[in-house]
Symmetry: C2
Subunit: 314 residues, 2 copies
């Protein structure tokens, strides 16, 4: 294993010069820099991040804290996780998972699944953290642009000439849901239409029951804007049981675009979250926050993508 000293010898400079070439390149003259860089090339030198971490009183580990129940974990966490791992890996950081709130170790946290009543717990954290998911308490976060997503969905339903646009939401008093509903409501209002909103817990079977028990309220030519693909799948099943025609008489638009939309039949038109990118950005944000000693990072909303598929008219 080649070390800083090896490079220093080869380049006939001190270790510090080599260290500076790596961490503060501007502090060293271009000529010396070239020589050192060549030496690093020839020796195939890679900094030992463990030693670096020790000197910096760091661990080079970021913890991912998942506050939701693991059993309800959506498959889309996979993509998020891969994104995070990818972003961390680029900076030679590693990942640890924590499913409860007993966190310790690590240089910072990425926290997901937090709800409104987790605020007190967050406030007592003594290390930098960023959240995955909207919040309105001023914590740094990254999320899909939920409002924009449902705006796009609702507008698309209108473009496809569905006369009635119904929203099936998730029955949780959380910002992400408010934002999704707001996107739907705004777009309808813009066209002088009156919102119709139903809310249930995020389970396909509950969605199925909801639609069936309210079936007479839904005339043909209705499009359902669903706050999740899970719900959308349930709506599809209900319509099929009622022998409704998809997509001619009934349209369905989901939200998430991970796995479930593909397994569904018909495949779902959905608002796809770019979870991988989101994960990468989360990693970059927490790493930057760590490096900056905990400085505020702000909020970032990622634009989702409309996937046009078989559950709406084409």
């Amino acid at each position: 294993m080649t070390t800083l000293s090896d490079v220093a010898k080869k380049a006939s400079v001190s270790k510090m010069t080599v260290s500076r070439v790596i961490n503060h390149p501007q502090q060293v003259t271009p000529e010396l820099r070239k020589i050192v860089e060549q030496a690093m090339e020839q020796l195939n030198y890679h900094p030992n991040s463990v030693a670096s971490a020790l000197a910096h009183h760091r661990t080079n580990v970021v913890k991912l804290v998942i506050l939701e129940d693991i059993d309800t974990t959506e498959p889309y966490y996979m993509n998020l996780l891969f994104g995070i791992a990818s972003g961390l890996g680029k900076k030679h950081y590693a990942l640890q998972l924590a499913t409860d709130s007993e966190v310790s170790g690590g240089d910072g946290y990425i926290i997901t699944g937090g709800r409104a009543n987790d605020a007190k717990w967050l406030d007592q954290l003594n290390k930098p953290f960023v959240l995955f998911g909207e919040n309105r308490y001023g914590y740094d976060f990254i999320d899909t642009d939920n409002k924009l997503g449902e705006q796009i969905a609702t507008q698309y339903a209108l473009d496809k000439n569905y006369q009635s646009i119904v929203f099936i939401g998730i029955d949780e008093k959380e910002p992400f849901e408010y934002s999704r509903e707001a996107g739907y409501i705004n777009t309808l209002q813009k066209h002088n239409m009156i919102p119709k909103i139903f809310r249930i817990q995020n389970h396909s079977s509950l969605a199925e029951k909801l639609i069936i028990s309210n079936w007479k309220k839904f005339a043909p030519n209705t499009c359902f804007i669903c706050a999740s693909d899970r719900i959308a799948v349930g709506v599809v099943r209900a319509i099929q049981r009622k022998n409704g025609n998809i997509p001619r008489d009934f349209g369905i638009i989901g939200f998430d675009g991970v796995f479930l939309d593909q397994v569904s039949n018909p495949k779902l038109t959905t608002i796809k979250q770019n979870l991988f990118k989101l994960g990468e950005l989360l990693a970059e944000m927490i790493l930057q926050k760590i490096q900056q000693g905990g400085a505020q990072q702000g909020e970032v909303l990622i634009e989702p993508e409309l996937i046009k598929s078989e559950s709406t008219r084409n």
Copy 2:
């Protein structure tokens, strides 16, 4: 942050004695040990694993290498990942993900999604590794007992008095599939019944097409043993489209028991893999292998569990 030296001072011993109390307790007399342990308690001392790693020329990081395409990644990876992370965390190890074969860094690898033609690549690895998933080249691995799983499934179908038992397999020439088929075949042979096997790629829509285009071959009173829940979902849809009665005339048993079985309607009877435990064992195995300098660890098969649900007679 309290260090080894702090404890040493408090206990009036040398740092080495403290270190030994932690790593080689037998080498220190019981009396001294007590004193040191009390000092550690009072100072709430926790070893700095980064410093330890540096001294050991380690990174305290294990890499998870996923050789499958990330887009086809099944949601069950989540549970595996959580298990791995849990197992690593107990020993203060962290995780890095790698989705291609360009691995570097880390003290060892957990490799998943490997296929037969990855053997040459594995052989050139210069760090300890263990595999998730059966192989027949002598590499250390952990997997669900696939054969046993389908034995249980097939026997259950027989117990429920389905007259015809059909196997819908995954069209891959890999040990896990051979094992699953073997479990099915063995159990049928034991009852002097002739196996009927179909194979397709692991997609629900392909399963659906397969069943529909062969519909006349399946008389009522048939149970489909499926090599995955994805396939099972497709089979369910096909039967429903043909207006077959589930579970009276047609039974379906899946494999995996992660997410999809719950979202399906009817919910699937399935062979549930204990992926979390599997992940924990993978972590323990690779950690032990690292500690033992790469010593052979052997093979471990984990017993799966039959989940009785709505897609078979009760």
